[in-house]
């Protein structure tokens, strides 16, 4: 995992993405591309160093590319919590603890994460460097609460056992289990089966 002091240059994949991002804005307004560029930098770090974060050197590179004062980029990168300004583990566990998830047992998920990874507090990274756990606000998937977001994927309908199994799988180095509901629910369909539109609609009947 690289530290704050290492230099940062954009790689080829990033350069292609940067060109596309800047092209979306009128000439002279390229500073508008600051958020996509920070995201591109974070992705590059994920590819290159296995840790999706934006080191300061990357923020400076973004500032230089867009002709902005570095502090303006720091402001943005620190304002949005999805930019990680500190290194994170290979698996970034983002546990939702907002009310719906909490009502559905997010405390259990947090406890399971702590137990499986040895992490004591939000914001910490496990000793093996694999996991970082952060507390996040509503992920917008409350119907299938509680939610644990790992890197870019949502794992839904969790409980203690399934969370532990999920983390054990990740730890073992096996391919990540498929994201989505961990109880086989289709999208956000009701748990107890379909509750509405159970008979063919009036319109369909008339047509027959």
């Amino acid at each position: 995992m690289s530290g704050q002091t290492e230099p940062f240059t954009f790689d080829d994949i990033s350069e292609t993405a940067i060109a596309a991002a800047i092209a979306k804005y009128p000439a002279g307004k390229q500073a508008s591309a600051v958020m996509p560029l920070l995201h591109i930098a974070q992705r590059q770090m994920e590819r290159a160093a296995g840790s999706a974060w934006v080191p300061r050197a990357a923020m400076d590179a973004v500032a230089a590319r867009l002709g902005m004062a570095p502090v303006r980029v720091y402001e943005i990168a620190t304002f949005y919590l999805m930019y990680n300004t500190k290194p994170v583990g290979k698996f970034h566990l983002q546990v939702c603890t907002t009310t719906p998830c909490w009502l559905r047992g997010s405390d259990d998920i947090v406890a399971a994460c702590k137990k499986a990874t040895g992490i004591a507090q939000f914001g910490e990274t496990s000793a093996d460097g694999l996991f970082t756990m952060t507390e996040v606000e509503c992920l917008g998937a409350c119907v299938n609460a509680p939610i644990l977001q790992i890197n870019d994927d949502y794992y839904e309908d969790l409980d203690t056992a399934r969370t532990e199994a999920l983390l054990a799988a990740l730890k073992s180095g096996a391919p990540a289990p498929p994201p989505g509901s961990t109880i086989g629910r289709h999208a956000s369909a009701p748990l107890t089966g379909q509750t509405a539109l159970r008979s063919p609609s009036q319109a369909t009947q008339n047509a027959e």
Partner: protein, 689 residues
Amino acid sequence: MAKVIVDGIEVEIANGSSVLQACEAAGKEIPRFCYHERLSVAGNCRMCLVEVEKMPKPVASCGQPVADGMVVFTDTENVRRARRGVMEFLLINHPLDCPICDQGGECDLQDEAVSYGRDTSRYDEAKRAVSQPDWGPLVKTTMTRCIHCTRCIRFSTEIAGVPELGATARGESMQVGTYVEKALSSELSGNLIDLCPVGALTAKPYAFTARPWELRKTDSVDVLDAGGANIRIDARGAEVLRILPRMNDAVNEEWLGDKSRFSVDGLKRRRLDQPWLRDGARLRPATWDECFAAIAARIKAVAPSRIGAIAGDLMDVESMFALRDLFTSLGSGNLDCRADGARFDASQRQFYVFNTSIAGIEDADAILIIGSNPRHEAPVLNARIRKRYLASPTFIGHIGLPHDLTYPAMHLGTDPSVLAALTDGSHPFAATLRAAKTPMLILGAGALARPDGAALHAAAWALAAQFNMLRADWHGFNILHHAAARVGGLDLGFLPAAGGQDTRAMLDGGVDVLWLLGADNADIAAIPPETFVIYQGHHGDAGAARADVILPGAAYTEKDGIYVNTEGRVQQGFIAVKPPGSAREDWRIIRAASASLGQPLVYDTLAALRTRLAAAHPHFAAPAAFRRLAATDLQGPAPGQVALSNAPFTAVAANYYQTDPISRASPTMAACVAAHSPADNTNFGLAAE
């Protein structure tokens, strides 16, 4: 215009004004923390709430534009309750550590808390704690006190043009700072201290020194650059403790450069507090009479053409006037106030002042800067150029060492050959100048001190004439001096009389007795060993080290004095404290010396001196009556004997912070130099490439 009724008082105010401005026009005071007249509106403190008829909720008056027929209430129960609520929230995370806070007694938060604060706090939870970053030797941070008004961020971004401050993170975690800890690199950083409405940013060198009510306040004029910023000297007892800017929209608005503000500790160090006389290889303490006797003996022993005087950069007009009178009565015309050795035609006032005037910069639409780095030579004036650049499109070209001037300036070249390319139109910037309606050029005084200074002077004037800068309604030819005494000295004619020697000639052995009136920045090393040197001044600097007689004078805080800034504005400073030890005001020393030389000057009081000064030079009679000169006489300055060379322009001083005996004696300025290594992006000590 919009008609607005504020608490029953009807006021007319320009459309687009804010409700807060309307309230002020009606004489109502609105509490505010984030709003500042010279900064953009942020509207984030919510202290300025007022009620407006037909609006359901209280509105933040600083950000609310007026509308015709608006009815505003500034002092209803609702308004007071709303402000009390805002105050309570502001104080939630504030440490309430007024007893150990330097802002105490001049704190907006403290003042408003008297009106809107509760007597006890209802907040029992833990307060937020934040770290205290190090912003360098000048600004001390106590960020727990910060109320997130963002004034400091807006100042550094908008006025100073050095965007290093920002608000990082958000919500409860939001912090105002540089994110990457570093010393502030603006030359105007001290103004953050004045702007911060609370005690989050205070003066580091002044920490825990005094309370505002202990200080004696004296109005004066800054002399550490030629801008003539208006200042207030705060002293306690015999000691000057701090210097703050005073408001003057025509000169410094309300800003002050860091050197001018923080060199005060240099006033207490390396002071000459008694006369000294050379005895063989060493200087020994002496009495005034011994010194005057020694001077008289030497002066009487040589021909008048073999005595001379050079006036330095910090001198007041009165002492230069007295010394000139003395030398005239002694029959010597060897006088020069251009201690830097510049030789140029000063026969007309418009040749050597900043004719456009500082406020006039705001009317220029193209600016050509030649051989100067205004950011270091006059930071407050530089802020005015930036202000102009922000207000409307202004084309700025710069000839000289490349610098970050805090605004985009097209770098045209580093040497005078660009002038020729502009004259013959081959340089693209010539088209810009031609298209401009109110173009101006700024010629640095450092450029005038070059061997080919007079030729440059003439070439710049010719350029001004060619590009329509010299008109009855607009004068675009400007000299930017860096010595506060220079324009005053030139106004007095403290210059070689017909057949007299100039600075260079006097330093190179042209005289046997040389009187250095605070001339530490002259090329002292060139003075031959046999020359008898009289040094009159306040600091043990270069001049005193070489002197045969030292006459201890007064620093600018220790005398009443008139100074003329680079635009030719006559301003008066007042005495704040007495000179140390047996040091005396400079004109008095010269008066006493004149008596022992048998040529007593005709004035014994400062008032009599000033009367004579005003009679000889009428513009000193009415200092307030500053007028811009119109360019009516187009005959330019004489080009001198040395042809224009293509040697690149150099920096006037090695750094911004130490340029004169006072700042060189200041530990704070030394700390600033140490904090800003040449590798830093401020271009300090940038070498020519």
